[in-house]
Symmetry: C2
Subunit: 224 residues, 2 copies
DNA sequence: AGTATATGATAGTATTACTATTAAATTTGT
DNA sequence: ACAAATTTAATAGTAATACTATCATATACT
């Protein structure tokens, strides 16, 4: 992916970190290697101790950036959705026709992720895989309501609202724009998960893409 | 809910347990109170030690029934889907018309759960809430492929296949019956989750049900 | 050169997720 | 009714996790 703008920073809720990891070299290495390690070990087996060892740094130094690994996950997922939102807005903004706009939106959401050179320390492909396999764990907790109030899911929610609005632009009488928008966003991750681990439960594969499926699903729900 | 048959046992993959909890009083109390406790504390904060304390039994005794809490979750979720499959088959079996059959299927899957007196030690309403909030954690693990091979997700997969087949009966030319079936089953849990914790991301509420939404979604995707 | 700040090293705590052993209670077979 | 088998309870112990606290050292800034 080509760099579109020189200096962009994805804005993440400041309460996800104690000290902004973008502000130092160590911080960036923490983020970079946490992505590699969570991808490799899975979030459950990932620990700050292991991360410290892998970057030749100390466990206690990592705690100076993130309170705990849950907050780190909130940081990574927020960053991901912020990055996605940027692509999303950039790709759809200039399209006038509501149907074409929505079609493009579904494509951007559901297509495979490619590397973005603009953020050298973040491997977006691996991060996307983490989102597919771990995102639910960031909100399937007893603290979800508190954390929601504290704004940790704002970007994701804004994405759903954006899609929902686009749906309404195509069909103002459609009764379930929010549910459909959340189904596309969540369902897209789920279809990728199924192709990886339960291929017998999906029609998506190398040839049939989630984009095909969701485009058909959405446009057949709407009166154009 | 009325008891339909005198003696039904939901068959769960035997590797989920060390000793069949249905075979003893202690076993049943373990299952009964694990549902209450997981519902109350969430799966992450739930431990065998706490469970032991709450049923006045010993931690080590619980380990004689379940290897660990992950296996217990696999047991509970398998039981739930087995129970759901039973309702599902019972409700749809006698319907001849493919569209009506599918309509009924979607209804059974997506409607709120009510208590079933047939299984005194299991609170299906709370268990359903556990499924909504914790089911993903049973498969979002690094061991998912091994455990899938070992058959821990068989009943769930069979459910998806059943729905997929019903979709095909209505429209043989529809290209994504498996994806649509998995979307309905997974998406239904997700819509309930959203109504609980992110009501701004769904149109489902007291008056508009997930059944309404998914019925519309499915039948607009198909050519009848 | 002196001071602030970031990082590293070490140690320590409470909890978790078990395993092992032994004792007590209960059930079962005759 | 009694012995044997099985189940459950009680206790102790281990390695790992998720931290917190303290102090030393390195670097950067004025």
């Amino acid at each position: 992916m080509k760099r579109l703008l020189q200096a962009i920073k994805i804005e993440v809720n400041q309460n996800t970190y104690v000290k902004d990891p973008e502000s130092s070299d160590l911080g960036k290495r923490i983020v970079e290697h946490s992505i590699l390690m969570i991808h490799e070990l899975g979030f459950d087996s990932f620990t700050f101790k292991k991360l410290g060892a892998s970057i030749g740094s100390n466990e206690s130094s990592i705690y100076r950036y993130f309170e705990n690994k849950h907050k780190l996950l909130l940081y990574l997922t927020s960053w991901y959705w912020g990055w996605q939102e940027y692509q999303f807005v950039f790709a759809t903004n200039s399209i006038a026709d509501p149907s074409e706009k929505l079609r493009k939106a579904i494509e951007v959401i559901s297509k495979p992720v490619v590397l973005d050179d603009s953020f050298a320390h973040i491997n977006e492909v691996l991060l996307n895989d983490i989102i597919i396999n771990e995102y639910s764990k960031s909100y399937l907790t007893k603290e979800v309501d508190t954390e929601n109030k504290e704004g940790y899911f704002e970007i994701y929610k804004r994405m759903v609202l954006r899609i929902s609005e686009m749906i309404q632009e195509v069909d103002l009488n459609y009764a379930y724009p929010l549910s459909l928008a959340s189904t596309v966003l969540e369902g897209s991750l789920h279809q990728y998960f199924l192709t990886q681990h339960f291929p017998s439960l999906t029609n998506c594969n190398k040839k049939v893409t989630p984009t095909d499926y969701f485009t058909h699903l959405v446009f057949n729900s709407l009166n154009k």
